[in-house]
Every structure is written in C-alpha cells, then in structure tokens.
C-alpha cells in the first residue's frame, strides 16, 4: 500500500512534467530520472560511489559501536566511570557534528579517514548514552543473583549485563544508523571527490538535475534498505524481548 503511494506520486510528477505544470529543468520527468539512474548504474559510477560511501559509513559506525558500547557498559556499571566521563560527554554531545568537520579536515585531510572520523564521532554519542541507560536499567536483583551464583566479573558483563541491556542498546544502533548516512553524505559534500554525497553535489553544480534526483533517490533507497536490515537483525537477536513484550501487552 505504501509503495503504491510512491508510485502514484511518481506518476503525478511525470504527468505534471509532461503537461508543463512543473518546470522540467528543476523537476525533470520521472522517466528521464530513471533513465539516468540506469545509465549511471551501468557505467559503474553510482555503484562505486554507493560502495565507498557505505564502506566509510560502516567503518565509522563500527568504531562508534565498539567504543560506545564498551564505554557505555563500563559507565553504566561503575558509578565512578560515569562520574568521570559525564561532564565531558554532556559538553561535547550537544555540539552539531558538522561543526567538527573543519577540525577533522585540519587533522586528517579530506580523504576517507576524515569522513570515517566524522561518522564515528556522530554515531558514538547515541550509542554511548543508550548503552549507559540500558545497563543502568538492568535489575540490581539480577546482578546480585549472578554474583551469588559465583559468576565472574567479565562473564557478568558479557553474558548478563550486555544481553539484558541490548533492547535499549539497539535503539542507539537504529538512531545512529540514520545519523551515519547523514554524516557520510555531509562530509562527502564538504570535501573530497568520491562517494554518493559528492556525486549529488557535483551533479547539481553541473546542472545535471536528472542525475541529481537519481542519486538522491538511490540514497533514499539505501537508507530504507539499511533500516530494514537492522530491523531484521533486531527481530533475530532480540526475539526474546519481542516475545516478552508481546506477551505483556494488554
């Protein structure tokens, strides 16, 4: 049903272009956009740009997960770690991530490492905060029971605290996935000459408006697919949580 609406809107756009209701320079007809989409896929420009953007995005995302989850578990579990990092986190967190781009360019140049850094920076905070919240919401009785069972410190963190907090941690993953795509495109638009962000900006500057819309539509499709993929992982990994909440629902 939802896809049908997209089809209808595309049809309206196409007809509006053909009847002259829409300026075809600013809003090229849909068939021209689709044709450019096929051309840029066939010549390899678009797949290459998407691939490099995703590689940068997922590398930064993975770094953010590694750091955010590790630090989040420690800060959520140990009060002194929380007290230590909380002022710094609250100072840096409200900073809009694009404001870091000049610093990143200064330190890392305009290559992939800068874009990976920006993505990691932006994704880190939601993952850190959700992990801390998730860990702090683990029932104390569960931790005490596990201690009473003679389970060691590392196993408690790995096999009890982390799974118990995982529903909240996954919320951080989902929020950060959207941020990842935004930041990788912004960073590519600001500096460099590769990636889907650069392609969109380059098409606009070259007055290749149909190409620009084709690239934007591709980006939307990538975002949609990534979110669906994470939902699938979520359903698989947190099957117990969904079963439990479905049972508890009135």
């Amino acid at each position: 049903m939802g896809f049908l609406l997209i089809g209808v809107l595309a049809l309206v756009w196409e007809l509006a272009g053909r009847t002259g209701l829409l300026n075809s320079f600013y809003f090229p007809q849909v068939h021209r956009i689709v044709a450019r989409l096929f051309t840029t896929v066939a010549d390899g420009r678009l797949p290459a740009a998407v691939a490099i953007s995703l590689l940068r995005g997922f590398t930064g995302y993975a770094i953010a997960i590694g750091l955010g989850v590790t630090l989040g578990v420690l800060a959520g579990y140990h009060r002194f770690v929380y007290n230590l990092i909380e002022p710094l986190v609250e100072f840096l967190r409200p900073l809009p991530s694009p404001a870091i781009i000049p610093v990143a360019i200064l330190l890392l140049g305009i290559d992939s490492s800068m874009k990976i850094f920006i993505v990691a920076w932006a994704c880190f905070f939601p993952i850190l905060l959700n992990t801390m919240d998730g860990v702090r919401s683990v029932p104390p009785a569960l931790i005490e029971t596990v201690r009473n069972l003679g389970v060691g410190y590392l196993q408690t963190l790995w096999a009890v605290v982390l799974p118990a907090a995982s529903p909240v941690i996954f919320t951080g993953f989902r929020v950060s996935l959207a941020i990842m795509l935004i930041l990788v495109v912004v960073a590519e638009m600001v500096a460099g000459n590769t990636g889907i962000g650069f392609l969109i900006l380059d098409a606009e500057r070259s007055f290749l408006v149909a190409d620009m819309y084709a690239f934007i539509a591709t980006l939307a499709a990538v975002g949609y697919l990534l979110n669906r993929l994470l939902l699938l992982v979520d359903r698989k990994v947190l099957a117990w949580h969904h079963g439990m909440t479905a049972l508890a629902a009135p």
Binding site: P139, A141, E144, T145, N148, G150, P163, G243
Partner: protein, 248 residues
C-alpha cells in the same frame, strides 16, 4: 567438622547504612548459628533488617561489624555454597535463556561435564514438576513455575545453605501450598540447610524447625523458638506482639 559445629555462623554482626538522613543502624550485635540440615525461619517486622541479614549471610553485603563463618572459615564474598533466592524472582531469571539454560547458567565451562550437568538440571526440573518446561523461556512460565526454576538454579550448585527471601509472597495460595510441599521434599532429599524469611506465620510454623524472631531497634535476635505440635499461629503472634510491646 563436628556434628555440633554450625555450617553457617553469624557472629556479632552489625550493619550501619549511611543515608541522606544520616547513619541508620539496622542490625547490631546479631549472632545466629545455622546447623547442618537445619530449617530455620526468620521473622520480624517490616524494615527490621531480615533481607539485609540474608544478604550478609550470602556474602553479598559486608557487615560493618562482626563476621560470618562458613564451615568455620570466614565468608569473604558470594559463592555457590550459600545460595540466595530473591523475593522478586522474576527479575532474577535471564529472559533470553530457556529454563534449562537458566538452571545451568554459569556452570558451563567450569570443568563440569556438560552432559552430566544437563542431566542433573533436567532431573532437578523434573523434581520441580517442570519436565515439560525445560525449553521454555521464563516469560512463558507462570510465577510459580519461575520460582521453581530459581530453586532448581540454586540447588544445582549443591549449596550448603539455601537462603530464601519471602520466596512465595508473590504467588497465589494454591501455588504457595504446592511450593511449600516441594520445599519440604527438597529439604528431605538435598543435604542443605534452609533459612527462610517470611511474613506468613502459618508458613513459618509449617515449614521450619526453628524460628528466629528479630526485634529491637537496631535489630538483634530476640527469641529462638523450636517448632512443635503445640506451636500455633496465635502463640507465635503473641511472641511477636510481646516483643513489639517491649520495644515500644
């Protein structure tokens, strides 16, 4: 260890908490001995420190004074020899693990033969009437079934002392009666001492051989009563009331 030496001894313990309203002394100079294969119940008013006492006996809380001895040696921390079953049992089960995996949790990879471990867990679940529920998740089980899983999880470690903090307070009357019978059977068959904290006087009289009454402010052991045929709810209630009046 001689027959008379206690398996768990609490010697002159005190517990002071530092709260927002200053120092709060909950327990003072409390001494208690749990003999081998004993069934002791602890009763007392709300907030008298029963749960704190159990947590100290389990090694989860370090007392501010005194010490706890397990088989004559100082208890330095929590361990499987003293198992504590919490009042809020539902939040102590791992919801992402099946009943069977909850029972064996933490024991895999400890040098225990996995097949023997699984067999013992299944036997315990069977003894608890949960043979058909081994593969189900805790949230798929009723409150009474969840509580039996926590008992099986405690017993698989073959504890010397099993501490139960109001274990049946959140289940209905019929389930409670079934769990009480189960507990008596387990006490007969398993070689562990049981310490039960409960507000239910009939339950205490029905299950235990010895009743420890905590009272005073801060709390200490006020009375030790051996249960007998003559001990009724009214007699026990009169003990508790007399203590409260003398405290007042």
């Amino acid at each position: 260890m001689t027959l008379e030496s206690p398996v768990l001894a609490v010697r002159g313990i005190g517990m002071v908490f530092n709260g927002s309203d200053g120092r709060n002394t909950v327990l003072e100079d409390l001494t208690l001995e749990i003999q081998e294969h004993d069934f002791t119940a602890i009763v007392g008013g709300s907030g008298c420190g029963k749960t704190t006492l159990l947590r100290i006996m389990a090694g989860l809380q370090k007392p501010t004074a005194g010490r706890v001895l397990l088989e004559g040696a100082p208890l330095t921390g929590p361990g499987p020899l003293v198992s504590l079953v919490f009042q809020h049992y539902a939040s102590t089960l791992l919801p992402w693990k099946t009943a069977l995996d909850n029972v064996t949790f933490g024991l895999r990879g400890n040098g225990t033969d996995p097949r023997a471990l699984r067999a013992r867990a299944l036997a315990l679940l069977d003894a608890m009437g949960l043979a058909g529920a081994a593969g189900r998740y805790p949230w798929e089980l009723s409150g009474g079934m969840q509580q039996r899983v926590t008992l099986a999880r405690a017993l698989i470690r073959k504890p010397k002392v099993l501490l139960l903090d109001e274990p049946f307070s959140a289940v209905d009357e019929a389930t409670r009666a079934g769990l009480q019978d189960l507990l008596l059977t387990l006490h007969r068959e398993e070689s562990c001492s049981i310490v039960l904290v409960s507000h239910n006087l009939e339950e205490v009289i029905h299950l235990s051989r010895r009743i420890v009454i905590l009272g005073g402010s801060p709390s200490r052991v006020e009375s030790l009563i051996e249960t007998s045929e003559d001990l009724t709810r009214e007699v026990l209630r009169s003990h508790l009331t007399a203590r409260r009046q003398s405290d007042a």
